[in-house]
């Protein structure tokens, strides 16, 4: 079943530049999607529209068949989606546990430990953690929420290769084991290779593909 659907979504910047020109796409639960494209092509804008951070100039974005513009963007952000950013975007005066507690009423320590943080690290100020640890906290915050859709903007952009590989595995598990719909905007071929579906955004148009530079995508 489609959890998200984009129907003829168009977006025009304030300077009248049309960045998205009638995008149609469907996304399912339990799958990981990668959105590729050159810088400035509108990938992050598309992610913002999916996450209800902005509204399309025209067209509809449906969550389980309902227009999110009608059900409310703030409600959509609160109930249906969780973001993971390249720069982690943690609240800097809270500990990892408190950051996770922002989106979840469940105990936050187990999920942080599951993602590789120790108890001591989970109680430390987030700014005193490494980049990889901070990104794990951000992922924990996204996973701890009830959101069925995880939107990640360059989640491994600031990480070393080993950590990036771990994060890739976590995101993949979120889709395939936890049944979430994971949408990732990335330049990383390694990350895109893990996706079930790749969307290429070129000149405002979105094309789905199951191949990446001649490499056949893995399927579960």
């Amino acid at each position: 079943m489609n959890i998200m659907e984009l129907q003829n979504v168009q977006y025009t910047y304030d300077n009248k530049k049309k960045v998205l020109k009638g995008i149609n796409a469907q996304m399912e639960q339990g799958k990981m999607y990668a959105i590729l494209g050159p810088s400035g092509c509108g990938k992050t804008t598309l992610l913002s529209l999916l996450g209800g951070l902005d509204s399309p100039s025209s067209g509809k974005i449906l969550y389980l068949g309902e227009d999110i513009a009608k059900t409310g963007l703030a409600d959509h952000r609160r109930s249906h989606v969780a973001f993971i950013f390249q720069s982690y975007n943690l609240i800097d005066y809270l500990t990892p546990m408190e950051n996770v507690a922002l989106t979840s009423k469940l105990p936050s320590l187990p999920i942080l430990e599951q993602l590789g943080l120790t108890k001591e690290e989970a109680r430390r100020n987030v700014l005193k953690l490494s980049g990889g640890q901070q990104q794990r906290v951000a992922i924990a915050r996204a996973l701890a929420s009830d959101a069925q859709i995880i939107l990640a903007d360059e989640p491994t952009g600031n990480l070393d290769e080993d950590t990036a590989a771990e994060i890739r595995a976590i995101l993949k598990d979120s889709a395939h084991k936890s049944g979430k719909c994971v949408v990732i905007v990335t330049h990383s071929n390694d990350l895109a290779k893990e996706a079930d579906v790749i969307f290429r955004l070129r000149k405002g148009e979105l094309q789905a593909s199951d191949r990446l530079d001649g490499i056949s995508l893995k399927r579960q």
Binding site: T44, T45, S48, G51, G52, L53, D54, L73, A74, D75, H76, R77, R78, S79, V81, A82, F83, F85, Q86, S87, N89, L90, I91, D92, Y93, L94, E98, A101, L102, T103, N125, S145
Partner: protein, 445 residues
């Protein structure tokens, strides 16, 4: 996590910013409370001065054939705005005789030629209450024996100790007072008391003998009325001093007095005496104006500085705002959190401001008030006799005024402080709250 918990965590962990805001709010609240306390104290001082320096007016009816009659007095006292306190006075000269009608000896001083009819005469002062007579208030007369004369007593006199000693008179003795121009008009009086003067009479050499302190005799208005106007059973006086409830209404009351019919007001002189109060009021009004201006300046500066401070603080939190919005926290809740942070700090600052302002305001306020009241005293002296400042302050009841933080002022500062925090936070947050979540996101990115 609730917004209150987030607000508490922010306030505790961003200590530098919290302390800066706290210090600013504490200083602001302290300054405002000091100003309000001084204003309240000035209001109390004003009320005390009103009570202490009662305004009054004098009706001089010396030119009227019958003076101020009892009927005229009744009509004056019926006018609204009069406090009910009044003094009736008459001044004349009388010949003094003993009980056997033998002339009594007066102090002739350095006079060589004694005017005819005045060989045994002196100044006769009638007052409805000799204790409040200017001789006793300002000239240093003191009752040494017996009782003061009031309007309840009739046919009584107060004699100078020296005069009594010279003539062998003492309290309880009887004597006669005779009209200097009409020898047939004499009245028997009893000595009710003796007085003395604590200050030396000025220019004694040129003072007529009948005006020498030794020769002054105080009596009741009824006795003086008989000698002056020949009245029996009814009292007329030359002067009446009438005190008003509110010195600000003095002119109005005087105008009403002059509307009383059947009196030749052209022959009367009405004089107002409220300079003491007006001077005091002007001085206090000056202080109140300064305090009002100070309150206005502190309020405006506080608002501007707080808006600037919070604008800078919130500008650094666009990133954080974006994160909250991305998590689905509403703009209203984010704003409420920022407000809660300011309110938490403001509440502590306002609580502490009670102690700081109470300590400072009493010092500054007392100094300011005493300065104002000192100025007041120096400009309001009626007699020209300089008294010590301390005595005057006690007289006016101002030395007892404590400049302290009242519950009303404290409540006002809480309301004002919280309103200021609300307004400045809303104003500072407005540009951020106006932004689209995506723009906030791009700002934070």
């Amino acid at each position: 996590m609730s917004l209150w918990k987030r607000a508490c965590l922010y306030s505790m962990r961003k200590r530098g910013k919290t302390i800066t805001l706290f210090m600013f709010l504490l200083i602001m609240a302290t300054l405002m409370l000091i100003c309000l306390s001084i204003r309240s104290a000035a209001e109390i001082a004003n009320a005390n001065i009103k009570k202490a320096l009662l305004g009054y007016f004098t009706v001089n009816a010396k030119q009227l054939d019958s003076g101020i009659t009892e009927d005229m007095l009744g009509q004056i006292l019926a006018i609204d705005g009069l406090s009910g306190k009044y003094t009736l006075r008459s001044y004349s000269y009388a010949n003094y005789f003993d009980a056997e009608r033998n002339p009594l000896e007066i102090n002739t001083g350095s006079v060589t030629q004694i005017p005819e009819k005045y060989a045994n005469a002196g100044k006769l002062v009638a007052n409805s209450n000799t204790e409040s007579d200017s001789y006793f208030i300002d000239a240093g007369f003191e009752l040494t024996e017996g009782i003061a004369i009031t309007s309840e007593q009739k046919n009584v006199v107060l004699l100078h100790e020296k005069f009594a000693e010279r003539n062998g008179l003492s309290v309880g003795d009887r004597m006669f007072l005779g009209d200097v121009s009409d020898k047939s008009r004499a009245i028997s009086v009893q000595v009710a008391g003796l007085f003395t003067n604590t200050k030396e009479q000025e220019a004694m050499e040129i003072t007529p003998m009948y005006d020498l302190y030794d020769n002054i005799v105080f009596t009741d208005p009824a006795t003086a009325s008989y000698l002056l106007y020949g009245t029996e059973g009814e009292t007329s006086v030359q002067y009446g001093d009438f005190y008003v409830n509110d010195p600000d209404n003095l002119e109005q009351v005087m105008a009403q007095v002059q509307e009383i019919k059947g009196v030749e007001w052209d022959e009367c002189i009405l004089t107002r005496y409220a300079k003491d109060y007006q001077n005091a009021k002007t001085s206090l009004a000056g202080l109140q104006n300064i305090v009002f201006i100070a309150i206005a300046i502190v309020s405006i500066i506080s608002f501007l500085v707080l808006v600037l401070f919070l604008t800078l603080r919130l500008r650094g939190r666009i990133h954080e705002t974006g994160i909250y919005l991305a998590m689905g926290v509403s703009k209203c809740t984010v704003l409420m959190q920022y407000l809660a942070e300011v309110f938490l700090v403001a509440a502590v600052a306002l609580l502490m401001s009670y102690g700081t302002s109470a300590a400072i305001s009493n010092q500054i306020g007392s100094t300011l008030l005493s300065q104002v009241t000192t100025d007041t005293y120096e400009t309001t002296d009626l007699t020209g006799v300089t008294e010590t400042i301390k005595e005057t302050l006690i007289d006016l009841g101002l030395s007892e005024i404590k400049v302290s933080v009242s519950g009303k002022d404290y409540l006002a500062i809480w309301l004002f402080g919280m309103a200021l925090c609300l307004g400045s936070t809303a104003l500072a947050a407005y540009p951020i709250m106006k932004m689209k979540p995506k723009n906030t996101l791009s700002q934070m990115s």
